[in-house]
C-alpha cells in the first residue's frame, strides 16, 4: 500500500516523458497560434506588369480527367489556399480535396512525421524546408519548374531552392511560393496626421522624429507583440533596422546557414543599439513581453499605437478593424535616397517525395499563378502579391485599402528582399531571439550581448544538426 504513491508518481512522470518524447505521439498541448513566421523564404517581390494574357495551356503534367482526391495539409488561419482549392474544383470537377489544417507550431512539429508517414501529402505548407529536403522527404520540383516555365517568372524562386551542401538560395527547387508576403510599417492615418506626418518618413532619422512626436503627444508610438507564446515581434523592427544600416546579403547568408556567417556584425550592432534606444525611450508598450500577436493586432485596430511593424498577411484584419484609416510604408533606409529593404518571401508549399498526385499538385501551383480568378482570390484573401508570369493579370483591389499600398510596396524592395532572421534555424526564434529580446525589454540585456547570445545559440544548434 505504501508503495502506491511511488508507482503513482513514477507513472505520472513517465507519462509526461512519454508524451514529450514518444516519436509517434502528437504534442500534448495545443500551441498558441503565432502567425509571426512572416516570410519563410524570400524573393524580390515584383508584381506582374501590364497586359493580361491567357494562362499557358498545360501540355505536360495535369490532374487528368479521372477523379482525384488531393491529400493536403495546410496552416490554420490561411483562408486563401482553402478558397483556391474550392475554385479549382469548380474549374476541374474531377479534383476534390481532403484538407487537414494545423496551427503553425503543431504544423512545424508534425511535418516530418506526416511527410514520412504512409499517407504522404500531395501538398503541404512548408514554413521551413531545408531539413526535410536533406532527409529526402520532399519532391524535387525542378522538372515542373522547367515544364511550366516557373524559372522565367519575374519573382524568382531562389530562396525555395537548396544546393547539394544544404545551403538555400540556389540549386534544386523544393517548394513553390503561392504568394509573396511583404513586411513593413503600418500606421494609423488619423493618429499620424495628429503628429504632423504628411508623408511616410524617408530616412530612419525622420522616422525617429515621428516616434518622438508621438511619445511627446501622449500616444503609444509603436504597438508590437512580444510574448514567448507568440514569438517576439521586436525581431521585425530589429531586422528592418539591420537592413537600414547594412547590406541585406550577409543577413540572408546567416539565415541560409552559409559557412562562417555571423549576425554579430558592426552594422547589426548599430541596429540593435537603435532598437534598444527605442525601448528605453518608451516607444513600445510597457507590457510588450506579455502581449500576444492577436492582442497587438486588435489593440492597434482599436487605435492604440501610431505605428506597428507587421506583414501584409494582416491586411484583411487591419482593413476590417480600421477601414480607410490604415496606411503602409516600407521601413526607410538610413540615408535619403537609399533603397528600402524588407523581409519578403513566398508562402511556400511543397510536395511529399512519395506523394501520389504530384503532377496534379504542380498543375495546381501553376494554376494559382496564372489563372485570373485564382490570382484575384489570392490577393483578396491572402493580401499579397500573387507572383506568376510577367504579363499575368493584375487583380483589382478596393481603392483605399491597405492591400493596394502593400502591393505597391513590393517592387520598391526589389533585390533588397530578405528572409526572416527568425527562420535561420528551427528554434533560433524560440531559444534565441525571443528570450534575448525580452531580456532587452526588461533591461537585462544590451545590444552587444543580444547579438553574441543569439550567435552562440545559432552555433550550438548548427552543431546539433
Amino acid at each position: 500500500m505504501s508503495k502506491k504513491p511511488v508507482l503513482y508518481s513514477l507513472a505520472s512522470l513517465l507519462v509526461l516523458a512519454s508524451v514529450l518524447l514518444s516519436a509517434c505521439g502528437a504534442p500534448a498541448t495545443p500551441a498558441a497560434p503565432p502567425p509571426t513566421e512572416a516570410p519563410t523564404t524570400a524573393a524580390p517581390a515584383a508584381p506582374a506588369t501590364t497586359a493580361p494574357t491567357e494562362a499557358p495551356v498545360a501540355a505536360g503534367p495535369s490532374c487528368g480527367t479521372d477523379p482525384v482526391v488531393m491529400n493536403v495539409y495546410f496552416e490554420t488561419g490561411f483562408d486563401d489556399i482553402v478558397k483556391l482549392t474550392e475554385e479549382f474544383t469548380k474549374q476541374y470537377p474531377n479534383v476534390t480535396w481532403d484538407i487537414k489544417q494545423d496551427q503553425f507550431a503543431n504544423l512545424i512539429n508534425e511535418t516530418p512525421r506526416v511527410l514520412a508517414g504512409d499517407n504522404p501529402p500531395d501538398i503541404i505548407r512548408l514554413p521551413t524546408f531545408v531539413s526535410f529536403a536533406k532527409q529526402g522527404l520532399l519532391m524535387n520540383l525542378d522538372k515542373y519548374a522547367t515544364e511550366f516555365g516557373w524559372n522565367d517568372w519575374p519573382v524568382p524562386l531562389q530562396f525555395a531552392r537548396m544546393d547539394a551542401d544544404g545551403i538555400r538560395g540556389s540549386g534544386t527547387l523544393y517548394a513553390m511560393g503561392l504568394n509573396y508576403q511583404l513586411t513593413g510599417v503600418f500606421y494609423n492615418k488619423k493618429l499620424a496626421a495628429q503628429i504632423g506626418m504628411t508623408e511616410p518618413p524617408k530616412t530612419v532619422a525622420e522616422f525617429d522624429d515621428l516616434l518622438a512626436k508621438a511619445k511627446a503627444g501622449g500616444l503609444q508610438p509603436i504597438m508590437e507583440w512580444g510574448s514567448a507564446k507568440s514569438g517576439m515581434g521586436l525581431a521585425f523592427p530589429l531586422q528592418q533596422l539591420m537592413a537600414a544600416y547594412g547590406p541585406t546579403q550577409p543577413i540572408n547568408d546567416w539565415i541560409f546557414q552559409k559557412k562562417g556567417a555571423t549576425i554579430d556584425a558592426p552594422s547589426n550592432l548599430k541596429a540593435a543599439q537603435h532598437l534598444q534606444d527605442w525601448i528605453q525611450k518608451g516607444y513600445f508598450p510597457p507590457d510588450i513581453n506579455a502581449i500576444e500577436y492577436t492582442d497587438a493586432a486588435a489593440r492597434f485596430g482599436k487605435g492604440e499605437g501610431v505605428f506597428t511593424f507587421n506583414g501584409d498577411w494582416q491586411n484583411a484584419g487591419y482593413d476590417k478593424d480600421m477601414a480607410g484609416n490604415v496606411g503602409f510604408f516600407l521601413m526607410p533606409p538610413a540615408e535619403a535616397g537609399g533603397q528600402p529593404a524588407a523581409m519578403s518571401g513566398p508562402l511556400t508549399y511543397g510536395v511529399a517525395a512519395t506523394a501520389k498526385h504530384a503532377d496534379c499538385a504542380a498543375f495546381f501551383f501553376n494554376w494559382i499563378g496564372t489563372n485570373d480568378t485564382a490570382r484575384q482570390i489570392n490577393v483578396q484573401y491572402g493580401g499579397s502579391n500573387p507572383g506568376g508570369p510577367a504579363g499575368a493579370s493584375i487583380p483589382s483591389v478596393p481603392a483605399g485599402s491597405v492591400t493596394a499600398e502593400t502591393l505597391a510596396g513590393g517592387p520598391k524592395v526589389g533585390t533588397n528582399a530578405m528572409d526572416f532572421i527568425a527562420n535561420a534555424t528551427s528554434s533560433i526564434f524560440a531559444q534565441g531571439w525571443t528570450p534575448e529580446l525580452q531580456k532587452m525589454v526588461g533591461g537585462k540585456q544590451d545590444a552587444a550581448g543580444l547579438l553574441k547570445a543569439v550567435q552562440a545559440e545559432y552555433e550550438r544548434e548548427l552543431a546539433q544538426q
Partner: protein, 311 residues
C-alpha cells in the same frame, strides 16, 4: 484495484490439492484482471521510458537515421542555455505548487472539517476541486487575460487605489514566476484539500473530543492531532505536487511558454522545445532522463518520511 496478493497461496500450501487447484484458478483469474492494466502500463509507460533512455544515446531528428553518440548528449545537455536557471525555476515552483497548496490545504480542510460539515462543506469542496475538472489549456488562456495589463486583476488593483502595483504579471521578470505559481495554487489547492479532508474524516472524533475537554484550542488540535495523524496523506499530497512542480509543463506552457527571457522556463519546456522545435530527440531524451533522476532523488526522501510516520 486488484493487487498481486500471494497471501492466500501461502496459507493454503498445506491443504488438499483440490483446494490448491481452486487457488491456482483464483491466481490465474487475478492475473487476467491485471493483464489489461499491466498491458497499458507496459505500452504507455514502460516502453516509452525504455525508448527514452535508448534515444538518449543517439543523435536523432525523430525521422531520419539514428547515429550512436554514446554519452555525448549527456555532456551537451549542460550547454543548453539557462539549464541551471530552468532547474532553479522548477524548485521555486515547488514552493508555489507544493508547499503553499499543501499548507493552505491543511488549514482549509481543517476549517471545513470543523465548522462546515454539511451542505456548506460540500459546496466549498466542489468549488475548490473545480479547477481539477476544467481543461488546463482553457484555464491558462483565461488566466492570461486576467493577468494582462488591461486585465481584470489590474483593474481591481486600480479601483482600490493600488495602481502602482498594476503590471503585466506574466511579462514581468520578477513577477512572472509567482504569477504562474498562483495559477498552480489555484489548480492544486482543491486536490490537496479534498485528499486531506478525506484523511481527517478517518481520524477518531474521540481524539478531538478529549482534546477539547482538556481545553485545547483550534490551533493546538490542529498541530497535535490533525497534522501528525495526516502525515501519510500529506506525504501523498507532497509527492504529487512536487512532481507537478519539477516536471511542470502544461501550466507554464499555456501561461508564458517560458518567457519573459526564460524567467519561467522549466526543464519540461526545454525538453519540449529541444525535441519538437529543434528536433534533437536524443538531446531532449537525455535531459528527460536527467529530469526523471532529479525527481526520483527528491521524491524518495518524501516517501520515506511519510512511510515511516505512517507506520
Amino acid at each position: 484495484m486488484v493487487t498481486l496478493d500471494n497471501r492466500p497461496a501461502a496459507s493454503v500450501a498445506s491443504r488438499r490439492t483440490s483446494l490448491n487447484r481452486g487457488v491456482r484458478r483464483e491466481t490465474i483469474v487475478g492475473w487476467l484482471f491485471v493483464v489489461p492494466a499491466l498491458g497499458m502500463y507496459a505500452v504507455f509507460v514502460l516502453l516509452p521510458l525504455l525508448l527514452t533512455i535508448l534515444y538518449s544515446f543517439y543523435r536523432w531528428n525523430g525521422v531520419g537515421p539514428m547515429a550512436w553518440v554514446g554519452l555525448k548528449n549527456y555532456v551537451t545537455v549542460f550547454q543548453v542555455p539557462d539549464l541551471i536557471g530552468t532547474i532553479v525555476n522548477a524548485f521555486w515552483l515547488v514552493v508555489w505548487f507544493s508547499f503553499i497548496p499543501v499548507g493552505l490545504g491543511l488549514v482549509v480542510a481543517s476549517v471545513i472539517h470543523r465548522v462546515a460539515t454539511g451542505r456548506l462543506g460540500e459546496i466549498a469542496r466542489t468549488v475548490l476541486f473545480l479547477p481539477q475538472v476544467i481543461p488546463l489549456v482553457a484555464a491558462g488562456i483565461i488566466w492570461g487575460w486576467l493577468l494582462a495589463l488591461p486585465g481584470l486583476i489590474n483593474q481591481i488593483l486600480k479601483a482600490v487605489g493600488l495602481a502602482a502595483f498594476a503590471r503585466a504579471w506574466l511579462g514581468d521578470f520578477d513577477w512572472a514566476l509567482p504569477a504562474v505559481g498562483m495559477i498552480g495554487i489555484w489548480v492544486l489547492l482543491g486536490f490537496c484539500t479534498v485528499l486531506l479532508l478525506t484523511g481527517m474524516t478517518k481520524v477518531d472524533p474521540a481524539l478531538y473530543e478529549s482534546a477539547r475537554m482538556d481545553g485545547a484550542g483550534w490551533l493546538q488540535e490542529f498541530l497535535a492531532i490533525t497534522v501528525p495523524l495526516l502525515r501519510y496523506e500529506i506525504g501523498v499530497c507532497l509527492t504529487v505536487t512536487v512532481i507537478a512542480a519539477l516536471a511542470a509543463f502544461d501550466i507554464v506552457y499555456v501561461a508564458t511558454a517560458g518567457g519573459p527571457g526564460n524567467s519561467t522556463a522549466v526543464p519540461g519546456i526545454q525538453i519540449y522545445m529541444i525535441a519538437f522545435t529543434q528536433r534533437a530527440v536524443g538531446l531532449a531524451s537525455a535531459l528527460a532522463v536527467l529530469l526523471m533522476i532529479l525527481v526520483v532523488v527528491v521524491i524518495i526522501p518524501i516517501q520515506r518520511l511519510s512511510r515511516e510516520s505512517a507506520e
